[in-house]
Amino acid sequence: MIRLRGVVKSFGPGRVLDGVDLDIAEGSFVALLGPSGSGKTTLLRLMAGLEQEDSGEITIAGQDARALKPGERKLGFVFQNYALFGHMTVFENIAFGLRVKKRGQRPSEVAIRATVERFLAMMQLEGLGPRLPGQLSGGQRQRVAFARALAVEPRILLLDEPFGALDREVRESLRVSLRKLHDDLGLTTVFVSHDEEEAHALADRVVTLDQGRIAQDSGAYEKA
C-alpha cells in the first residue's frame, strides 16, 4: 500500500531521515516508535505529502507519490494538536473535506449533511455539531479530528501522536475505538508514538526509528 525506498530528508544541516526502506501492507496497523528527533513524524509527513523527500522514492497504492498532492493521496491525517478549524463549527469541520471537492465530485448538501451526521454518530458526538472546537473537551476534539479525517473516506489513516495530550482514561477508550475503526473500515493505519506500551497494545507491527534509520521492525518478516 505504501512503499518507501531509500528515503532521505534533511532540514538545513541536520539529516532527519537517512535512507529508510519500508513496506506497509494494505490493511495493516503500523506504529512508528522512537525518541523525539528520531524522524518518525517526518516520515509520516512525507507519506502525507506535507514534506518533500530529498531523495529516494515513495509509492502509494502503486503510484509515484511525487505526482500526488496531499489531497490526492486518499489519506486522512490526524494532527498532534488536532488542528481543528477554530472558526468553524464541529459540523463544518467534518464537512470541510466534502465541501472542497471539485464541482463534479462534490456531494449534494443533503448528502453532506447525511455523511456528517453519520460520522457524528459513529464518533459519539451527537448534538455537538453546532459547537465550536473551543467549546469541546480534549477527548471530544480528538474524536472530531478523527471524524473530519474519515469523512472523505480515505484508504489510509495517518496519526501523529494522536493521544499525546489526553489523560489516561480518555486515552484508553479512544485506543479501543481507533482499533475498531481500523478493523471496521478496512483502513491502512500508521501512527506515530513515543509510548512503547501503547504502540505494542494497538499495532500489529511496531517499527522503531533511531537517528533517521529503522533500528527495529517487529514485522520484518512481512517483507519476504
Binding site: A48, G49, P70, G71, E72, G76, L84, F96, G97, V100
Partner: protein, 283 residues
C-alpha cells in the same frame, strides 16, 4: 475585598490620569477642529467644502485611496504570507526592508520619487519624450501614497500569521483543499480582523498623508491637491474657517473608519452566534 497588586487609590489615579491625557491629546483636538469649522456657521462650512477646488481635492483623495488601499492590501497579504511561511536566504533583510517606509521620513520618500521621475531625474528625460507625467501630476501622488502606506497591512497580518501556525492549513491540504481554497476558507477567516485593521490604517494614512505627497504633487489647485494639501494652502492664506471645514471632513472620515471597524466586528460576532443558533434549531 483586596485585589492583587496596587491599592485602590493607585488604580483610580492611573485611570484618571489616563482619561485626562486622552481627553487633552485625542478628544480636545477633534472638538477644536469641529468648533472652528462651524465658527462661521453651517452654510459657510458647506460652501467651503463644495467650492470647486475643495471638491477636486476630495475627489483626488478618494481616487488615491481607491487605488492605493486595494493594491497594498493584496501586496501586504502576499508579502506577509511569503515572509512568515517560507524560510529563505535574505528573508530577514526583506522583513526589515518592508518597514522602510515607516523609518524613512515621508519628505525623503517624496524626494526619491522626484529624483527618479522628475525632469532632472534618472527617468525624467525618457518620460518627457514619451509624454508621461508623473511628478507634479496625479501618478506621482499615487506612487508616493503607495510607498508610504506599504507596510500597514503586512505589519498587522504577519504576527498573527506566525502565531496561528501552519497546522490548520496543512489539515486543509490533507483534506483535499487547493491552495486557493485553503487561503479563502482557513487562512483568511483567521486573519480577517488583523487584515481589516491593516486596511483601515492604510486607508487613513492614504487619505491623510502630507509630507511625501507635498513633495511630488506641486500643489496645483484643482488638479494635484489632496485634502491635506488643500488644508495647508487655505491655512497659508489665513482662510482658517475654510481650512478647518475640510479638516473636519477629513476627521469625519477617520471617525467613520473607527466606527466601521466596530460595526463590522460586532456584526461578525452576531452572525457567528446566529449561525450557531440556526444550526441548533435544525432537526
Amino acid at each position: 475585598m483586596r485585589g492583587i497588586g496596587e491599592a485602590q487609590w493607585v488604580r483610580v489615579a492611573l485611570v484618571v490620569a489616563c482619561a485626562v491625557v486622552m481627553a487633552v491629546m485625542l478628544v480636545l483636538p477633534l472638538v477644536v477642529v469641529f468648533s472652528q469649522a462651524l465658527s462661521k456657521g453651517w452654510d459657510f462650512m458647506v460652501a467651503a467644502i463644495t467650492e470647486p477646488d475643495a471638491m477636486a481635492a476630495i475627489r483626488l483623495t478618494a481616487l488615491v485611496a481607491a487605488i492605493v488601499v486595494p493594491l497594498n492590501t493584496v501586496f501586504g497579504v502576499a508579502a506577509a504570507w511569503c515572509l512568515v511561511r517560507f524560510r529563505f536566504r535574505g528573508r530577514g533583510l526583506l522583513v526589515a526592508l518592508i518597514e522602510l517606509p515607516f523609518s524613512v521620513s515621508p519628505v525623503v520618500a517624496g524626494m526619491v520619487f522626484v529624483l527618479l521621475f522628475g525632469l532632472q531625474g534618472w527617468f525624467g528625460p525618457f518620460l518627457m519624450r514619451n509624454g508621461v507625467h508623473i511628478i507634479f501630476a496625479v501618478p506621482g501622488v499615487i506612487l508616493a501614497s503607495l510607498f508610504v502606506t506599504l507596510p500597514f497591512v503586512a505589519r498587522q497580518v504577519m504576527p498573527l500569521l506566525a502565531a496561528i501556525g501552519v497546522a490548520e492549513e496543512e489539515a486543509a491540504l490533507t483534506l483535499g483543499a487547493s491552495g486557493w481554497q485553503m487561503f479563502w476558507r482557513v487562512t483568511l477567516p483567521r486573519i480577517r480582523w488583523a487584515l481589516l485593521t491593516g486596511v483601515l490604517l492604510c486607508n487613513a494614512r492614504a487619505m491623510g498623508e502630507f509630507g511625501a505627497v507635498a513633495v511630488v504633487s506641486g500643489h496645483i489647485r484643482g488638479l494635484t491637491n489632496t485634502m491635506p494639501l488643500q488644508i495647508e494652502i487655505l491655512t497659508n492664506e489665513y482662510n482658517l474657517a475654510a481650512a478647518f471645514a475640510i479638516a473636519a471632513l477629513l476627521a469625519c472620515l477617520a471617525l467613520v473608519t473607527i466606527g466601521l471597524r466596530a460595526v463590522l466586528e460586532w456584526r461578525s460576532r452576531l452572525a457567528l452566534a446566529l449561525g450557531q443558533q440556526a444550526l441548533l434549531v435544525r432537526p
